[in-house]
């Protein structure tokens, strides 16, 4: 009985109203797809890093790490580690293949980052992960047993030659290399020609990273990366079951054993060294990316929320339009519960169909999103050969878990309403909508309360470094504003009648009248569109303010004339340095007045990866310019920090860890934990994970190695930066490649990176707006269908088709205008939340609030035009129907 009723009453109707059903399904699908796509995208960057990590770690169960690596002369004193298992020293990094290979890159090959950067950086054809291990000893730790070495001489070469490497068969195939071929690789600013002496089968590390993996002996790796005297870490493979390391031990040590060994090793390790599971580095990277990922996730939910508005919209319309029929059903003995079930069933069908479509669409969107975020992630965070991970079972599960229940939730209000329709409604033949149009003060209480809650939430601090309350405040703002929409439209309707008539004549008046009569159902569409528009406005204001701030900061702080960096950009886990010939070429150029060199290393602070930098404070004072946030006289604080156990920290660091000038930071140095006084906090918009900077003298005392990762050169008056740049570059030999930005180039590059970072943001918003537009079209379509009779009447009394169409299009544009008006107001409120709450809590940046008036004006016009366009199809339908009535 019930299923029959469902088929007759719901499914048939859905089939009849194809357009509305379809737009709703597509709306949900887009929402689900965006959420899934962002999940996949977020996973891709971390997972790329983690799979690489895991495969390179091999059977390593514990690793020993130290800030800036481990001085290799400490190794003989760590012989006691052998009681736990084999210990394998490792050099790990990244190189880029220079030119070479004839074969076209495969489909999975990372694309070079092009655009403006190409002018300064040679196209980075392909980055490869490089692992340097003691190839005599390491074979049991990692799954490299597929190494094919053809002759004994090749193995001897591999063991003794600093130019011998093993590459993966995949890479060899892809780029057309064979044993004995030369392969030029760039590390830092040095290009060395290596010779392929072995091939790795597609096992272990060769399997992941699309084969972009190179193995070499640790001695060769030390030389190539300019890390003589240190190793990056020690990998420890715990003894499995008492058999010798040489035997294939199937019994890997259990988790408890690893924990026990970890505790025992940690207790005995000298100061400055840390024992951890290899997965720890993955967790650190995950945390580092968390804020970035959370923001994307939050944005992706906007599209979903808009999609759910559509469900609410559709079911509400369906309920309103069919009050009489519902009354009939009730009169015939259908229970309330059954009526509720019928409409929830409709929502379930919509949700189910939307989810199914969304899963397929999500995969496609994910590829696009990975493409959009890859350059951001690799520029700002980690170098990773990101490819979109496959949809896992849990992704499908997640899609259904959010798609269907949320659709039901969205439909629950109108469905409940439907179940309350009395049997008498059939007789009365009218709906109660008219009574709800009246504006009551009571209707303002709920939104006011919600907005107050939003205000309260905005004042709460972050949760575990995440602005969860900030997001909640945004959500509350959106909900509160949505609840205000009917009232707003009501006011708008009253005040607009006159102007519309004057401006658009009779069509304007008609459009206004139609809309005023349909306020309740319109409110939903307007709210949906307004929400997505407000998000766009908010983000536009935030990004605009942010961009202005960064541009100002860049202008103030980038004072040097030339910036010199290694050919390969450093990222986490891929340190890149400059070598002596390049430094000399810069320092000895007659036009160069002063050179500041800086070095950055990764430092684990409070379990998080931060950047520890070394700079020449004296030179910063004489030539450069830092913008200090605190104390008032930052320059004096910087002067006092020279040569002492003091650091300055970036604003992002200060916010994240609650650090103020005068505080003491305990940092892990190679000599163990040491206290450093915080002298000042400076503005920095380049690194969101936070930067600690110490004077080079202080850095050298604790960390030794000062091989610079970058230089800043100040020119003497009268020297043209562009010319000095090309003179320095042309003076370098074949084996060295530096990238030199002039001041102007670097400013442009900073803003380019900035803009590319937000490309995904805009993409997500456009999707949300498209979904909302679908909602407008669907609503108009419904209105058109309902007003069939009115429209026929219009034609009968002499209205031209063109006029009828015009009425509908004007209605659409009015909806757009109303939505945009609300969107602007709510968006500005949200932008305040974004700038002062969410941004500060997740990234910790000071952003000067600025409203991009021109941009917003342009967007507003675009929205009105776009909604008018969305009205064209319903308008056509309207005249088509009317014509049908005519004849």
């Amino acid at each position: 009985m019930q299923s029959r009723l469902f088929e007759q009453f719901i499914l048939r109707r859905m089939a009849q109203e194809r357009a509305r059903t379809l737009t709703t399904v597509v709306g949900i699908a887009l929402g689900i797809a965006v959420v899934l796509a962002i999940q996949l995208t977020n996973a891709s960057s971390v997972r790329g890093f983690e799979t690489a990590l895991a495969s390179v770690a091999g059977r390593t169960s514990i690793e020993i790490v130290g800030t800036g690596g481990i001085d290799e002369m400490r190794l003989p004193d760590l012989g006691w580690l052998r009681a736990f298992g084999t210990m394998s020293p490792v050099i790990e990094g990244e190189m880029a293949i220079v030119g070479g290979g004839q074969a076209a890159p495969g489909p999975g090959a990372p694309t070079p980052s092009t655009r403006a950067g190409a002018g300064f950086r040679a196209p980075r054809t392909e980055a490869v992960k490089v692992l340097g291990v003691d190839i005599l000893q390491d074979l049991t730790v990692r799954d490299y047993l597929g190494v094919e070495v053809e002759t004994p001489q090749q193995f001897l070469e591999l063991l003794t030659s600093p130019r011998a490497i093993v590459i993966t068969e995949k890479l060899a195939r892809r780029r057309g290399y064979a044993l004995g071929d030369e392969l030029p690789l760039m590390a830092g600013d040095r290009v060395n020609t290596f010779v392929v002496r072995g091939l790795l089968k597609d096992e272990g590390p060769a399997k992941v990273m699309d084969g972009s993996f190179v193995l070499m002996d640790i001695a060769a790796a030390q030389l190539a990366f300019d890390r003589l005297g240190r190793v990056d870490r020690l990998d420890v493979q715990l003894r499995g079951d008492g058999r010798a390391a040489g035997e294939a031990t199937a019994n890997a040590p259990g988790s408890a054993e690893i924990d026990a060994a970890l505790a025992a090793i940690s207790a005995r390790l000298p100061a400055g060294l840390t024992a951890q599971r290899p997965s720890r580095r993955g967790e650190q990277v995950e945390r580092m990316l968390a804020a970035f990922h959370l923001n994307l996730t939050a944005l992706s939910w906007v599209a979903l929320v808009v999609g759910l508005f559509l469900v609410y919209n559709t079911v509400t319309i369906s309920v309103i339009a069919r009050r009489e029929e519902i009354g009939m059903l009730r009169a015939l003995g259908v229970t309330r519960r059954q009526v509720l079930g019928l409409f929830l069933g409709e929502a379930a069908v919509l949700g189910l169909a939307g989810t199914l479509l969304g899963i397929g669409l999500g995969r496609v969107l994910a590829d696009a999103a990975v493409g959009l975020t890859r350059s951001t992630v690799s520029t700002l965070y980690i170098a990773t050969a990101a490819s979109t991970p496959a949809l896992a079972g849990w992704h499908v599960g997640l899609a259904f878990a959010i798609g269907v229940p949320l659709s039901l939730l969205a439909a629950s209000l109108p469905s409940l309403e439907a179940s309350r329709v009395p049997p008498t409604a059939a007789m009365r033949g009218s709906d109660r909508l008219a009574s709800r149009v009246r504006l009551r003060a009571a209707a303002l209480v709920a939104p006011a309360l919600v907005l107050l809650v939003a205000l309260a939430l905005a004042r709460l601090g972050p949760v575990d470094g995440r602005p969860l309350f900030g997001y909640a405040a945004s959500l509350a703002t959106i909900i509160g504003a949505s609840l205000l929409v009917p009232a707003f439209i009501h006011v708008l309707a009253r005040s607009l009648a006159g102007p519309l008539r004057r401006l658009l004549g009779v069509e304007g008046l008609l459009a206004h009248a139609n809309l005023a009569a349909a306020i309740p159902r319109l409110s939903i569409s307007v709210a949906a569109l307004a929400v997505s528009l407000s998000m766009m406005v908010a983000v536009a204001v935030m990004i605009g303010s942010f961009r202005d701030t960064v541009a100002y900061w860049v202008g103030q702080t980038l004072q040097a004339d030339l910036f010199i960096g290694p050919g390969l950009q450093p990222t986490v886990g891929s340190e890149q340095t400059l070598s002596a010939p390049v430094i000399a070429a810069v320092e000895t150029h007659p036009g160069v007045d002063a050179v500041d060199s800086f070095r950055n290393i990764d430092l684990v602070y409070n379990g998080n990866l931060v950047v520890l930098g070394a700079g020449n404070f004296a030179l910063v004072l004489s030539h450069g310019s830092l913008l200090f946030k605190a104390p008032a006289d930052g320059r004096e604080a910087l002067r006092r920090a020279i040569g002492t156990e003091s650091v300055v920290v970036s604003e992002a660091f200060a916010n994240k860890y609650g650090t103020r000038p005068g505080d003491t930071l305990t940092l892990q140095t190679p000599q163990g934990a040491r206290p450093f006084a915080v002298a000042a906090v400076y503005y920095d918009y380049a690194v969101d994970r936070g930067v600690i900077v110490m004077d080079r003298g202080t850095f050298r005392r604790y960390f030794g190695d000062l091989t610079p990762s970058g230089l800043a050169a100040y020119l003497k008056p009268g020297f043209e930066p562009e010319r000095v740049r090309s003179e320095i570059l042309s003076g370098l030999d074949e084996g060295h490649r530096a990238f030199i930005y002039t001041n102007r180039d670097l400013r442009a590059e900073v803003l380019r990176i900035f803009d590319s970072t937000f490309a995904i943001t805009y993409a997500l918003e456009i999707i949300a707006i498209v979904v909302a537009m679908l909602g407008v079209a669907a609503t108009l379509l419904t209105l058109v269908l309902e007003r069939q009779r009115d429209l026929s009447m219009l034609r009968l009394i002499g209205a031209a088709r063109r006029q009828v169409r015009r009425v509908i299009v004007i209605e659409a544009a009015l909806i757009g205008a109303a939505s945009q008006a609300i969107g602007l107001v709510v968006g500005l409120a949200l932008s305040v939340l974004l700038v002062y709450v969410i941004n500060v809590q997740s990234f910790g940046w000071t952003i000067q609030f600025r409203v991009p008036v021109t941009f917003l004006a342009q967007v507003s016009i675009a929205v009105v035009v776009a909604t008018a366009v969305a009205g064209i199809y319903p308008a056509r339908r309207a005249t088509a129907l009317v014509v049908g009535q005519d004849e």
């Binding site: 290799e72 003989p76 012989g79 074979l139 003794t160 030390q222 030389l223 040489g246």
Partner: protein, 374 residues
Amino acid sequence: MRPGAGGCAQGRRRQLVVVLVLALSTILSAADWREAAAGYRFAFPHDHASHPDYKIEWWYYTGNVETSAGRRFGYQVTFFRVGVVAAPENPSRWAVRDLHMAHLAVSDPEGARYRFDEKLTRGGPGLSGAATDRYRVWNEDWSASLDDQGRHVIRAASDRAGVDLVLSEGKAPAINGIDGISQKGAQAGNASHYYSLTRMPTRGVVTIDGERFEVSGESWMDHEFGTSFLEREQQGWDWLSLQLSDGRELMLYQLRRSDGTRDPRSSGTLVDTAGRTTHLSAADFTLAPTGQTFRAPSGATYPIGWTIAVAGLGLDLRISTPMENQELFTRGAGIAYWEGLVDVAGTSRGARLTGRGYLEMTGYKGSLGRVMTQ
């Protein structure tokens, strides 16, 4: 322990065989290394230390020891240094100049247990090495060195076997060969500088399968260095170090050619009770298998009974072992040799005498000469 079982072990073995083959090869950059030449004058203790100018060098300890209750054990600890590149171009400390190998074996005839282990490493930042200023050779946590009282301290342990022994030098070092050189092949350079400490009072601990035994007894140390040793047609050798009950010691080695004949460079040294040495050339002695054989886990068949006759000295000795399986089959290097404790029984000019010693038999699984001269 099935040979060839598991792709993992196999792959590793294959590679390390290659490494060893190359490391031992004499054609590669042999010119960079010094050859053993006649007229070498030993000076002690300095010559215990390393001689890095030569390509190949080893320190070899073997010994027969027993517990106070009379339970008998044999042990072998060997440190090899094999030069690969005399002057590496890479300044990294990890650059391979020498490869360091070490073998450790403990024999327990009563428990019928023979346990061994091996190491193959590079020097790196002092992880393995051989000092030149004083006697200290080490491979990770295995080491042999002189303590401040001039005693040899040997420490090596794995999961299966271990020794922690202190050895006095006993008699003065016996220089093997003629004029400071032990000729191994027809070519002048195919020789080594070779001396032995033939009866070293020993005390300490041996460990087997985790069981510790306090032991004492007598050890023998060989230290040999040179640049090229075997020639292509030399199949392997049989070597004996015997400590006789009359207070004398006898070292003999016989080089076998691939055609089955005895190489004329075979020789030996007899050390009398006062430590004076008598060189024995190939013509001075016979060393013949009794015909008793043992087929070892590696597949090689070893003659484990021998007779020795040194006509000029009136020595007639029979060599037997209480334990047949003392084959050191290095899975890593893929090279097998038999090295184990033996008993001596026989006569000296008619007078009965006994003794204990160590027997080493190489080249029964593939030609060692061909391997070393590839």
